[in-house]
Symmetry: C2
């Protein structure tokens, strides 16, 4: 059986071959292929057997030509690239999406649109209908690609809330604000009262939300809000280091720092140690992301885990629903406090 399939590069069997083999018509085979409604059990069985015998696989190009769908989705990166590929979260996301889609037998097209030129080319490719929908990964706001795709009616799901964009775009995000609240509450529960923060970039939703959570908990605890305890960061290790130095200079009495990313937290740890502060005895440090960096640093970082596996699964689910005609939706997933040594 399946001799020709295993053998050389013969012309692959078509639906005609299957129909002949099964003693039915093309139409019946096609119906079996598409859910098997209005097909007698006998025909069903005959067709399945014929498919197995011939090693038939449907020609997606022919199918796409008539249905107008491509049965594939794009995974679009609209950043200067380096950034994401170095981000472990990104990898989890990519892997998760690929797997979730594979479960539906849908291939994922990886698209990089770092430069303006590439963005144009890819927008064209997508709007021409070569993918049924797009998973968009772009941290920064005001992404022109998202707007264009949205305008062209392409089903779209963003990772993280796109700020500055109309509300009509689907997204899946972790509950950054709540995660930040959890962490700051945890720091307060340790008896700390001078809690500083190194924020994320404030043109990203994550940066904004995490800062908001920090402020809320301080207000909740009736602690006076001190501008000196807030310094901006950029999610990089070096940014964390610089931020910590500024904090130490502005507020030498601080006894805890909430850092908006683990990578920055690594920098903060380095700066604190250089300044002779012990962690967590003198200063408690809380990170965000639960990236490998959290385990690699010493002391190991207390941090907030984002549910990346669930995020990817939800992105795919929402996208497929949207392709199926449903309305855009926003999904917010809970985070989790991971206690380790640093706080």
């Amino acid at each position: 059986m399946t001799m020709n399939a295993a053998g050389g590069r013969r012309r692959p069997p078509t639906i005609h071959d299957v129909a002949r083999e099964a003693g039915v018509s093309r139409g019946t085979v096609s119906r079996v292929l598409n859910g098997g409604h209005y097909v007698s059990p006998a025909a069903q069985e005959a067709v399945n057997a014929a498919i197995r015998r011939t090693g038939y696989v449907v020609n997606r190009h022919a199918r796409s030509l008539i249905t107008g769908r491509s049965d594939s989705v794009g995974f679009l990166l609209t950043e200067p690239q380096e950034r994401f590929f170095e981000d472990p979260n990104f990898n989890v996301l990519l892997r998760g999406c690929t797997q979730a889609l594979a479960a539906h037998d849908i291939p994922l097209l990886l698209m990089l649109a770092g430069t303006e030129d590439e963005r144009r080319r890819i927008t064209r490719y997508i709007t021409a209908g070569h993918v049924d929908g797009v998973l968009l990964v772009s941290s920064h706001s005001g992404d022109p690609v998202a707007e264009q795709l949205r305008g062209a009616g392409v089903p779209l799901v963003a990772c993280g809330k796109p700020i500055g964009l109309g509300s009509k775009v689907s997204y899946v995000a972790a509950d950054d604000r709540d995660g930040a609240r959890d962490m700051v509450r945890h720091l307060l529960s340790l008896g700390r009262r001078r809690v500083g923060t190194v924020t994320g970039p404030l043109d990203t939703p994550g940066g904004v939300e995490r800062l908001a959570g920090y402020r809320e908990v301080l207000a909740e605890a009736c602690l006076e809000f001190d501008e000196k305890l807030v310094v901006p960061g950029d999610y990089s290790r070096a940014g964390g280091e610089a931020g910590a130095e500024r904090l130490l200079a502005q507020a030498p009495d601080l006894d805890a720092v909430f850092v908006a990313s683990d990578l920055m937290a690594q920098g903060v740890l380095a700066a604190l140690q250089r300044a002779g502060r012990r962690v967590p005895q003198d200063v408690a440090v809380g990170g965000f992301d639960d990236s490998p960096a959290a385990l690699a640093s010493s002391p190991e970082l207390t941090t907030i885990r984002q549910p990346w596996d669930r995020i990817s699964a939800e992105m795919v689910r929402v996208l497929l629903a949207q392709i199926g005609g449903e309305d855009p939706a926003a999904v917010i997933l809970p985070t989790e406090l991971v206690k380790r040594e640093s706080a």
Copy 2:
């Protein structure tokens, strides 16, 4: 101009529309689209103008249906997954391939085949002609997928030399053996004479070659070969730590270690420091890969840089050549010694 393209989700223009707009026939438009041979300059110009005006983009499904080619290639991972996505080299590779293909306007399909089940499904998908060729990333030997694809006549390029597979498969690899030689020679040039090694997994080509290079240089230097100086590793940090402990136990007089990966080298550094050995004063350590880990560890790792950017570019070049009908080819690229603090 391009009002309909920018506007709603209208039915996209076809080659007919372009032909009508340009006042020529479908055939002429098609010829322009495919290289413009046997087309008068006047017609050429008219068609190009019409394409611009209508915002026409060729329907690849229709084209693929008749040409039998898909104008896309697969990037296939046949590992238990985690491994690669955590490997920074892998990211560089994926990015490089995507970009090199994008230059040819060829989309990349990312395929994960971790389980036996997925492997079957994906093999089927590929052999059915849904991609024109495959970039294969799989470190371990005897990959059944590679053999099957090769047997089905699918153009294939592996990353790293596939061991145990017939010679008829193309691959692109860094010169592991030569890199190992460079590193060990460097260690000897520092005056070290008891050079140990933590190898990679010996069912991977990299592991085998790097060990071979190590042995060659020792022989070359007329140093007696000591089994106690060789311990197996698995490319993981924990493996490096365990390896270093075994080395210290078996050969406490060692003064240098060649570690087959940077990640393992991190573990080696930790174990050495725990044992009270100073690096590089007491023991010099050389890594392999020049991954971010090399810079993140302290002291910074002296290591061997693999030319990942060139590897990806070559993989794509060889694959496209093979799709174009050329014979399989093997490409070996030189590595580079990067001197830092650890040796």
